[in-house]
Point group: C2
Chain length 418, copies 2
């Protein structure tokens, strides 16, 4: 598929993240206006509440865009999602008869503030990158026991904390927590000393399932509304002391940052790619009816306070995952666990085959033993106060891109204990 | 404190669970009426939406009781909670001048259907019973390594699934899942074979905290609106295969049942008791400013399909916990994790010193090796289809009880895979 041309000129610029092929969904405000739904097109945001009020888009009997979240649209289901995309494509295409009617509802992105694009119902994080699991397992348990015995059979996941999922640009305080050095007699309490990122994709569940009713991978695929970039901030020293036997808790609870635009599954269709060959056969309930991953180029960068530019320390790809989001979602429902519109599924850290493609500082610096040298000449093992971490991602089409917009966050000093 | 007498005669009956001293909060409906907030008093429910409409109780500028959840009342904060309790006590006391005005708004409990008393924002389950942790640890890792090294320092918790927290009486399908016998080459998929309960208390968080702002134990105590009984249904075979390295997931995600009435912290005040002596000193952030547990007698019973009565297999007490809900909540916020009104904190399984006080079948039958004989003569290792499991609890005062109402659920056969 080539670039689809829009009458919004900036959307046709070479490798712009938001061409007509993309049409990602976000929530924005301008000045004192209430936040509302918007669609990114080139350097502009289409004010969906205004477009709906003008009668140019009608999805339901009641307004669904004059709210600061896309959950109401999600709950209308895949048929409505398809209608909306078709209508937007028609309205914004080069030569559209309705260009003059739509034009007044475009807001320059530079004048807008972006907010969380949806209400996060619950947040689940997975552990589905094989290289990442191998790297971390090797560091913690030795090369022979790197992959847990269940890893090739189960898309391993754990429930995370929805209350601290924030939109790109939100500053994050370094967490406090309990830690213990291996040779210490007693644990201590204070600011995290090994603060890290995890480069992930987030899948946004768009429709609900009933409690007691598992869904298949094929059904799960239909339930996924779209994807965001996701930084699963991680406090490694807190994690090491707390995580056995029941998994990560406060080490991951302080913040999860997502990119501001939900890129729809529809926009990503041309980039579908299969999960890798299986070392051991999957149980039938996890079999993939069609390719479930997407070829999305991803990067992570760090910029110290005051530095002129960021240093990119990882270039990887979403196609590195061993399990797709649809497989994860189906597994999530096996027990009868009800899934809801607005559930967010973190893919797990996406690491490629070598150090330049590892998705966390823990891996890049091999547990802090091999410091990373930044473009400024400074070095880093883990994140320091004032550092800004940024994930970026896009799918590269034939003459166009499907971009996500940055997923960024600056680390502020730890707060004083109450 | 003695029994406080009410003009609602049934509330004065000996050892009634809902005397005037209690006043627990629930959500009920009658016939085709919309579910709304209600307060249990003796064998009656006070229709709070009607009482509010009649102007007998006014907590805010807008109605807060004509909704099927108590979250709006919670969010008004502890001062409003105190006002409400004082007003209700006045309205329902023996000799109240307003008895005649209130009387029309009492609904016989036998005519009402009970619903979830609040919207669960997020659900966290802890692991704070020492005997339980020791029992399970002994079974899984041997007596020498029973307690994990962090256990005496951290109120260990993990995030659970809010979407499947259901009210007492809701039937639960036996979960399907992936399991692997220790000697099997490959895992299989099918209905859970080792289905269990966990006898717990749930603390209901009533006010919110800000992201990035930890709360102290003293602050946490003020945030807890009340308590419910909680059955953390557990699929032991699924759990054993999935839980390493990131904790329980589908083994716990299919259902969590709570009792229908939120018993307020205020009603439980006379029953405060301290956490036990510390084997190792706690870090200062976890120190208890005053006794944080409550003397609440608890029991668990199982009733096979068609059996005339249930067999009680456990009698224990909430005071067996090593950590209080306030300590758990403070720990939960250490990293800066935002807590919200409606968050539910499971205490962890409450097991006493011996087998007759263990809070799960896993412990009572010691991993299924010592079957339990029921009053009917049947035996059980784990739960069979058609079995009904019931938790009960009350605090025993001087001539009165603070009861919770039963927390019950019947197990239905596993559903067929999609």
């Amino acid at each position: 598929m080539p670039l689809m041309k829009s009458w919004v000129a900036s959307a046709n610029a070479e490798n712009h993240p938001f061409p007509l092929n993309n049409l990602p969904y976000g929530v924005f405000s301008r000045g004192d206006d209430e936040p509302r739904c918007g669609v990114a097109i080139g350097d502009m945001i289409l004010d969906m509440a205004a477009v709906e009020e003008a009668g140019l888009v009608t999805l339901a009997d009641v307004p669904v865009f004059d709210v600061p979240f896309w959950n109401e649209v999600m709950e209308l289901g895949p048929r409505a999602w398809g209608e909306l995309r078709a209508t937007l494509t028609e309205l914004l295409s080069e030569g559209s008869a309705k260009a003059a009617a739509v034009q007044p509802f475009l807001v320059p992105m530079g004048e807008a503030e972006l907010h969380m694009p949806f209400l996060v119902s619950e947040y689940t994080d997975f552990y589905a990158g094989r290289q990442h699991a191998t790297n971390v397992g090797t560091m913690f348990r030795g090369a022979e026991n790197a992959l847990p015995p269940n890893w090739l059979h189960i898309p391993i996941g754990y429930n995370g904390r929805a209350s601290t999922v924030v939109v790109s640009g939100t500053p994050v305080h370094r967490p406090n927590g309990q830690t213990k050095a291996p040779d210490a007699e007693m644990p201590g309490f204070g600011p995290c000393k090994r603060l890290d990122i995890e480069l992930e994709m987030g899948a946004v569940v768009g429709t609900s399932s009933e409690m007691g009713q598992p869904v298949s991978v094929a059904q799960a695929e239909q339930m996924i509304f779209g994807y965001v970039l996701l930084n699963d901030w991680s406090a490694r020293d807190i994690q090491a002391w707390e995580y056995q036997p029941l998994g990560p808790f406060q080490a991951k609870a302080f913040a999860t940052t997502i990119s501001p635009w939900i890129v729809t599954t529809a926009a990503l269709e041309p980039f579908r790619t299969s999960t890798p060959a299986r070392e051991k056969p999957l149980l039938p309930y996890l079999e993939e009816p069609r390719p479930g991953l997407f070829d999305i180029k991803l990067s992570a960068a760090i910029q110290p306070e005051g530095a002129a530019r960021a240093t990119t320390f990882s270039n990887t790809n979403y196609s590195e995952m061993y399990y797709s989001a649809a497989q994860q979602l189906a597994h999530h429902s096996t027990s009868g666990c009800a899934m809801n519109a607005g559930d967010l599924l973190g893919s797990g850290t996406i690491s490629g085959a070598d150090k330049s493609s590892y998705g966390s500082l823990l891996e890049v610096t091999w547990g802090g033993k091999e410091p990373l040298t930044l473009d400024t000449g400074e070095t880093r093992t883990f994140i320091e106060d004032g550092d800004t971490l940024t994930l970026e991602g896009h799918a590269q089409g034939d003459g166009y891109r499907i971009g996500f917009g940055p997923c960024t966050g600056k680390i502020l000093p730890a707060v004083k204990w109450p």
